[in-house]
């Protein structure tokens, strides 16, 4: 258990949002690349596979770059 605890240990809170933002950036880039290649909007599973991420991780990353304020900002960003 000590091993796993050490493996998990990371006492920063800032790092969370930074790595999530990086993931969100990759998700959006992959979405564009796949859209060009496939000639249609890719499905979330295709993006997950291309980036070797879980669907949950993709959802979490996209939420992290969501504006917490007005919903209208998010739509027209």
């Amino acid at each position: 258990l000590g091993e796993i605890r050490r493996f998990l240990r990371d006492d920063s809170t800032v790092k969370v949002s930074r790595s999530l933002k990086e993931t969100a950036f990759k998700v959006n880039r992959t979405r564009e690349e796949l859209a060009k290649k496939l000639g249609r909007e890719p499905a979330i599973g295709e993006i997950a596979e291309a980036l070797d991420l879980s669907r949950e991780e993709i959802v979490a990353a996209l939420e992290a770059v969501q504006m917490p304020g007005s919903i209208h900002d998010t739509i027209y960003q």
């Binding site: 499905a43 949950e56 959802v59 939420e63 919903i71």
Partner: protein, 148 residues
Amino acid sequence: MAGEAQVKNSMALEFLSLPENVGLARVAVATFAAQVDMTLNELEEIKVAVSEAVSNAIIHGYNGEPRGIVRVAVERTEAGLVITVEDKGCGIPDVALAMQPAYSTDPERMGLGFAFMQSFMDELEVTSEVNRGTRVRMFKAFKGEIGK
């Protein structure tokens, strides 16, 4: 409403009517929705619709009072997702009027919540009783092969 077919998966989330729980509802529904293959665009539309319905329950239904309970239920069938957002708040006296684009009882607000739900979801059904509460039922159809 569509989606009366066999339920493949279902979830229900209840939480206090606090503004920070809008994000919780949005993330929970998005995670549930992402279990099937849809586009990020469709996922975004679902998130906006849920955010608007839950915000309404908190801001209007419970008037910002933090001790109300909001319930968000989602069912997945072959056809799509049925999302229900319910509050036991003040209710809406005239639903047809409230649903008109740009109508709001609050001069500070845009009155576009229902318009967003209507345009982003495939079906929208609002039932409400004054002093009893409001129930918003939305259906998002799975398109083509995606989501099957």
